[in-house]
Symmetry: C2
């Protein structure tokens, strides 16, 4: 008789696992049921800011695979159906059809938990009002676009001032949404906690992001905690109050990060890590508090913690690329292969208008937290040969460990062609290269693409020099 695979969560990790398992095991061997409480499967949450900003015209462009496409591959996909309990001992899950309210138990042989993350929404006055928007799901994006449609951002009909958007949070989503709201014609205020935006960068590079935002007309309010959304008579935002003052707001966008969505797992008595995520081994099997595998239980995507290969610690890194890889690993293992997800090095990239931003490995705060001793080298260069027309400037900051000379991390802020160079450091971190080894990597050189010494290598040379190794 066929085994039964049950998947909780119909996005990247869950449906990659289901698809990969299906590629390897036909319906006669493996029955697959997947539960998704929302209305969409397998979509690009990372694309939402570009859809909201109008660069991507259609919501459906963000959907990599529809429910129908999954069903065509013999996956019994239950949309708008929420899993309300899991029972690992009894190997069953309880689900509720959100349309009818009907509940039922479903038995499984193997269970994949891919419940994702939930955006942080402060339990503070006004934060749950209409017009205060997260941008975590396609439904969130749709709701924000509906709010945008209420206003004419050019200020017609409200001549005393332009329309204002306040973005709360200065990380990736925050600055991407700041750009999106600029593109929609809003005056934008960015309220964030840290001294500079982009806390994944050290402040000496974050300041470059702040200046770029300010040049674009964004009012950046650093070091401030949003404490209240003040509502007008219509029950919608009129301002955001922060520890730095009051900021006019016709709408509010929240970009405060996300936590693993693991209430189900916690309620089922499963062990969670310090960041609240499920812990797995490299095969993506769920571990209990003693580090033993929970029989038949797998997890991947934004609900798990991952091994950071540089710090050696487990971190929560909500990112589609990891979710996809982890889903691949789960699906291969369910299909009889022996696959492992080795971990992450903390690579991330974004842009705000023409400014490219990327980081990988550890920044200074993280290196300190990991108890490491390091040197930091900062260099300025160009992304193309310096004499090339319109060569874009870029700033590179590299951290290397004292003693070993091992590369610890890289940060890049710059113009066109700058940021994707971070991948060189990502692979170098994965291979635990020293900065001297990095200097001699055979990177591509031609004037339209790079100076003769690629900026990443220049930073590595400088760090090696500071360590007395070059």
């Amino acid at each position: 008789m066929a085994q039964h695979l049950v998947v909780v969560g119909g996005d990247a990790a869950g449906m990659s696992a289901a698809s990969q398992a299906r590629r390897r095991r036909g319906p006669e061997e493996l029955r697959i049921t997947a539960f998704e409480r929302g209305s969409f499967t397998s979509y690009s949450a990372c694309g939402i800011p570009y859809w909201v900003g109008g660069e991507v015209a259609e919501r459906d462009a963000l959907i990599a695979r529809t429910p129908e496409q999954h069903r065509a591959r013999d996956i019994d996909l239950r949309m708008r159906t929420e899993v309300t309990a899991i029972d690992p001992a009894g190997r069953r899950v309880r689900s509720r059809d959100l349309a009818t309210g009907a509940e039922r138990w479903t038995g499984y042989d193997q269970l994949v938990l891919a419940t994702g993350a939930e955006p942080v929404r402060p339990a503070l006055p006004g934060f749950d009002a209409p017009g205060v928007h997260g941008v975590h799901t396609l439904d969130d994006g749709q709701a924000l676009l509906e709010t945008l449609a209420r206003f004419d951002p050019r200020g017609v009909g409200r001549p005393e001032r332009a329309w204002h958007a306040v973005v709360v949070g200065g990380g990736y989503i925050g600055i991407e949404m700041a750009e999106a709201m600029l593109l929609r014609g809003y005056r934008v205020t960015l309220v964030h906690r840290t001294p500079e935006p982009m806390p994944g960068l050290d402040p000496d590079l974050g300041v470059l992001v702040r200046r770029a935002l300010e040049r674009l007309g964004v009012e950046v309010v650093p070091g401030a905690e949003a404490t209240e959304v003040l509502l007008g008579a219509d029950g919608r935002p009129r301002a955001v109050r922060s520890t730095a003052g009051e900021h006019p707001a016709d709408l509010v966008v929240l970009g405060l990060g996300a936590r693993p969505r693991t209430e189900l797992a916690r309620a089922a008595g499963l062990a969670l890590g310090v960041h609240g995520g499920l812990r797995t081994d490299p095969t993506m099997r769920v571990l209990d508090a003693d580090g033993a595998r929970v029989p038949g239980l797998w997890a991947g995507g934004d609900c798990v913690e991952v091994l950071h290969l540089v710090s050696g610690r487990h971190e929560h890194v909500a990112l589609g690329t990891h979710a996809n890889k982890q889903g691949l690993v789960i699906g291969r293992n369910l299909g009889g292969d022996a696959a492992q997800f080795p971990g992450v090095v903390g690579t991330a990239i974004t842009k705000v208008c023409d400014l490219e931003i990327a980081r990988t490995g550890l920044n200074e705060r993280q290196a300190a937290a990991a108890g490491l001793r390091w040197t930091a080298a900062v260099i300025e260069s160009t992304a193309q040969a310096g004499y090339f027309p319109d060569a874009a400037w870029m700033t590179v900051k590299l951290l290397a460990e004292q003693g070993s000379g091992r590369l610890l991390g890289l940060q890049i802020v710059g113009g066109a062609g700058a940021a994707k160079r971070i991948d060189v450091a990502a692979v170098a971190l994965g291979c635990r290269l020293t900065v001297e080894q990095l200097v001699f990597q055979d990177l591509a050189y031609a004037p339209p693409f790079s100076p003769v010494w690629d900026p990443v290598l220049v930073a590595a040379r400088k760090a090696a020099g500071q360590l007395g190794r070059m």
Copy 2:
């Protein structure tokens, strides 16, 4: 008493070595004399096509460091002075002042040979006529610009046809010069030997380059050997004859590659490798025929052969980035460090108008020559998320070794943002990663920069699948 370092050749390798040695040893410890037979030092030969094409306005923009700048660092630089003999046993070199004809011997303690490469120019009728141009040195570029100035490329005064340029050779220089001549308003014919242009690529990717050239209006004549430059009454080109016919030509550009310039070394009895280049150990000390170090003798840049880390063979790879690194290694060693140049993986990159082209490692021809067994995976993807506005297409070809699964090489042809991804594979080759290891590298993902699976990883997944490893 100070030691005496003599450098032969004032470009990247030689002057990097001199500068690095000077940083570590002051004039009281180390006297440095450098001979350069030309009029320029430390310039970007790779930039010449962009200068000729008009994208880089000024010749001097290509000069990284002038003779005066070198002299300011206590380097006794003799310009327009050709070294005519080296005497390793007597530790001296003979030089001729090209202005006065005066010759003299100069003793040395340490000698750096950085004589570069010489462009291939066939000993066939007409190839030495005025109007037949190499593009190897700044003087070459200047001469070509002077020829361009003779013509009005729009055809004024010669109404029966537009002006024609024939480019001989379909490698990097050939296609870069084809673009440059297009930018100058010429009709361009590209005559080359191989079935498709860009022999560093396999023909299934080279065909994409040919089609792009043809779309730009270049007449591509593949599989043809140029046999004669036919001259008009003015002693200048009127056509190029090839094994495929006769091609009208008002000027001819040669892009037939370059050989190590090692006549001096050969005349001095030094051993040369199969490609005619000097052989060195990883410290860049010159080796004799028995593999022993020749006392006091160093070499770097386009005149040496380098270890190819994937094939394990020694190759001649004339490229400024290697020359600079080798010069750094020599200079560090002369300064008392212990530095090594580990070798290359064969990375190269270029573009023709909007088409980006890159390769690293081994292509199929090279893999066969190295006696390897491989699988080749070809994939199509986009350089940004597929739904992103103006996402550029790209084709990636990946070679992996059968048995070991080791990455052997990567080739990329595509639009904006495609080619510099080759660096991921370059580092992976340097670290001898398998394709499964490559799949799990933590590459940067955000919609403006990449699909959720970076195209390089997609190619690695496909190859791993073909090898039954995924």
